[in-house]
């Protein structure tokens, strides 16, 4: 009998001929997530098993597995020989000692001499012998003992299913560049694209000395939390200070944010192309703030050719907050390191800016050289 954690994967079974590729990426991601913990990762008929780990690492392994996209569910249990004695010995360990229970057998090995119903009954009877305070309830049991009879004379015995993060293995759906601020939304947007298998890298715009280093550190912290899911290891930053000053000095105040966002998109596209990203990702949600109207998004999209993915576009703030809490970024996002960026905020930002007006105002600036200058401030913070 061997102590194991059983991992079942989510959508990979949908992928016909690509299946081998998806599985390879998935197992590499699993290995990466378990870096630093002694273990063995094995394939076993459509499942993965983590074995040869120390008991005190089990919880940490489970925590990490729960964050790997592509994991549908996982269970802590035992891998044993398929003879009755071994199965009962393992079942005794995962079975509750009081309350109601049932045995639920899945017979993958169709040549096994007993049927599922027979196994349920026989193993159930042995468990009742071992724990006299137990009662059987096949409809709404409090506990359950699962037997998974596999080919090759091996059986998996476990007591519960824990839900995984689902989605697709990160790295199987291309590469995107996330525009990450210190707020609540953008980390959630990055999480959602990673969940669909996208490799996500991060770009943060700062306006030092208007913004402070603590604000940047906060973004690094957010990126690190997000990286538990995405596996990305660094944050890119670019200064937009000079651009903001120029806009502030020369352009209509109500367009400040609109114009800045167009610059951010241009810079992001340049960096995306340089780093092999195939799209931009933002945390925009329709109508959330003045710049996140359809007109605002249209004006930003107009300056780039890469697709801009906005996974939160149809989400309410509340829904985003719920997700941010689940991901673990919320507490950091709400830390009060807001910055002096507000000196540039107009009192009445344009909600539905006309493209002709935007372009006229932007014409007052040397767009190309400002973008060039900003790209030149690119820094990479590894973590």
């Amino acid at each position: 009998m061997e102590k194991v954690i059983i991992i079942r994967y989510a959508e990979i079974h949908l992928k016909g001929k690509n299946r081998g590729y998806f599985e390879r990426v998935f197992s590499v991601n699993l290995e990466k997530s378990l870096k630093g913990i002694r273990h063995e990762l094995r394939r076993m008929s459509g499942r993965y098993l983590v074995a040869a780990f120390a008991e005190e690492d089990a919880e940490e392994i489970e925590r990490r597995i729960a964050r790997v996209f592509g994991v549908h569910s996982y269970s802590r249990g035992y891998l044993t020989e398929s003879d009755m004695e071994s199965i009962v010995a393992a079942a005794t360990r995962v079975c509750p000692q009081t309350g109601t229970f049932k045995v639920d057998t899945h017979r993958g090995d169709k040549k096994y001499p007993l049927t599922s119903m027979q196994l349920n009954a026989e193993v159930g009877a042995k468990l009742l012998e071992a724990y006299p305070a137990l009662k059987v309830d096949v409809h709404t049991p409090e506990g359950c003992v699962y037997l998974d009879i596999r080919d090759g004379g091996k059986t998996l015995v476990f007591g519960s299913f824990e839900a995984g993060a689902n989605g697709m293995p990160v790295g199987t759906s291309g590469k995107g560049l996330l525009l990450i601020s210190g707020g609540i939304d953008s980390p959630v947007a990055g999480y959602m694209m990673a969940k669909r298998g996208m490799n996500v890298s991060y770009l943060h715009f700062h306006s030092y000395p208007y913004t402070n280093e603590q604000a940047k550190d906060k973004v690094v912290t957010l990126a690190r939390i997000l990286s538990r899911y995405t596996g990305e290891g660094s944050l890119m930053t670019v200064s937009v200070t000079h651009i903001q000053e120029e806009i502030h000095k020369k352009c209509a105040a109500e367009l400040n944010v609109t114009l800045l966002r167009r610059f951010m998109f241009r810079i992001a596209e340049r960096i995306a192309k340089k780093t092999g990203a195939q799209c931009l990702i933002t945390g925009e949600s329709l109508g959330q703030v003045a710049s996140q109207t359809i007109e605002g998004m249209t004006s930003s999209n107009a300056v780039v050719t890469l697709p801009v993915l906005r996974p939160l576009v149809g989400f309410d703030k509340e829904e985003i907050i719920v997700r941010a809490k689940q991901i673990g970024t919320f507490e950091t996002s709400v830390l009060p390191y807001e910055d002096c960026c507000t000196v540039f905020l107009p009192e009445f930002p344009a909600i539905k800016p006309k493209l002709s007006f935007i372009e006229a105002e932007e014409g007052k600036l040397d767009v190309a050289s400002l973008v060039e200058e900003a790209v030149g401030t690119l820094e990479r913070i590894a973590f």
Binding site: P209, Y337, V343
Partner: protein, 372 residues
């Protein structure tokens, strides 16, 4: 780097660090240990206690409790003394006192805040009018940490006791101790001090208390150190450092004060008066000059100046809802002044040359931003 943020913290004196090293590397013994090494450390603590009290008060009347910082000293005094009725303080206090007073409300004690004048000193008449027969505590900061204004605590304490002799009087002396002449009178019950504002290290403070005042209660219980008033093994290297720094500062207190007063005024004369409003009073601490670059953001200037090699303080933190100083606001200034506050604070290590360079940088940074 020209360091003009000494009111925030000072660079530890080289001699003080050397002293600390001795107590980290050689004399690391627990002062409560009953062998020779322990006794030796314990004797150093006694010397420190004696010197630090003696520097500002009569050791027959006053004694000292080592704490982890000035804030701890303030808090212990406040929550020990303000047990009933009301407690009075000023709008110009450091957060260590101000926030503790706000917390008193939850303990059934009414906090009362006296207004301050435009230079940061407390409005004496207003303060005294808040004191009545139910006042258990009055706290007045000695040197206002944001403007440098000096409150006459001896006279205030006397007037408070005349109105209600049972009222306990506390003064936060963190920006005064080792910088301006201090003599604690019999009307002052508690005085809080800190090591890292005078060349010691962070993590060491003390509460000086009048022996006749018996309200003090321990907030940390344990092995009974500090006469049972503050348990926990003493920060011996920090205290050794504190002792050394205090000895150095008190030896030259008057000479340093006079020199820094001249430097402070020199700095003010070099600043472009068309760009700045002066907030610090002329009769305030020689260690602090606070000005405002009207309408600009102090925090942004602060970072630009850092990049130019000059470290200064501000009255603001952009993080709070009101991105400017509560204390300077209480002085009665408008928003434009409040946003632009810069605090330049000195130490005896500050040189005339540094002042010249700093003035140039500060003028240049503000001019550049005005033109931007």
């Amino acid at each position: 780097m020209i360091y003009l943020d000494n009111a925030a913290t000072t660079r530890p004196l080289a001699g003080a660090v050397a002293e600390a090293e001795t107590y980290l590397k050689e004399l690391y013994f627990n002062p409560s240990a009953r062998y020779h090494g322990g006794a030796e450390v314990s004797r150093m603590l006694s010397r420190a206690r004696e010197f630090l009290v003696g520097a500002v008060a009569d050791p027959a009347e006053f004694e000292l409790i080592f704490t982890s910082c000035g804030t701890e000293a303030d808090d212990q005094a406040i929550f020990s003394a303000a047990r009933r009725g009301n407690a009075v303080t000023t709008a110009g206090e450091h957060a260590a006192v101000f926030e503790s007073y706000k917390a008193l409300k939850n303990r059934g004690v009414e906090p009362r805040f006296a207004p301050i004048l435009s230079d940061g000193r407390v409005d004496e008449a207003a303060l005294l009018s808040l004191v009545d027969e139910k006042t258990s505590l009055v706290s007045v900061v000695h040197v206002n940490n944001e403007t440098g204004a000096v409150n006459d605590i001896a006279s205030l304490a006397k007037k408070v006791k005349q109105k209600n002799p049972r009222t306990v009087f506390l003064s936060d002396g963190v920006q005064a101790f080792g910088k301006i002449p201090v003599r604690l009178t019999k009307e002052i019950d508690f005085y809080s001090v800190s090591a890292h504002k005078i060349g010691g290290v962070k993590g060491t403070g003390a509460l000086i208390r009048r022996k006749g005042c018996t309200v003090l209660a321990p907030h940390i219980f344990g092995g009974g150190q500090e006469g049972g008033m503050r348990s926990g093994t003493e920060n011996t290297f920090g205290i050794a450092c504190f002792l050394h720094a205090a000895q150095a500062k008190f030896a030259l207190l008057r000479a340093d004060g006079e020199r820094l007063l001249a430097l402070r005024e020199r700095l003010w004369s070099l600043l472009d008066h068309a760009l700045f409003t002066r907030i610090s009073p002329e009769d305030g601490s020689p260690y602090i000059l606070t000005v405002s670059a009207e309408g600009l953001r102090g925090e942004i200037l602060q970072r630009e100046l850092w990049d130019m090699g000059v470290a200064v303080g501000t009255g603001s933190a952009c993080s709070s809802k009101k991105p400017f100083s509560r204390v300077i606001e209480a002085c009665g200034y408008g928003e434009k002044t409040l946003y632009g506050v810069l605090r330049m604070s000195f130490s005896p290590e500050t040189t005339a040359e540094e002042i010249e360079h700093a003035a140039e940088a500060v003028n240049a940074a503000v001019r550049a931003r005005r033109e931007a």
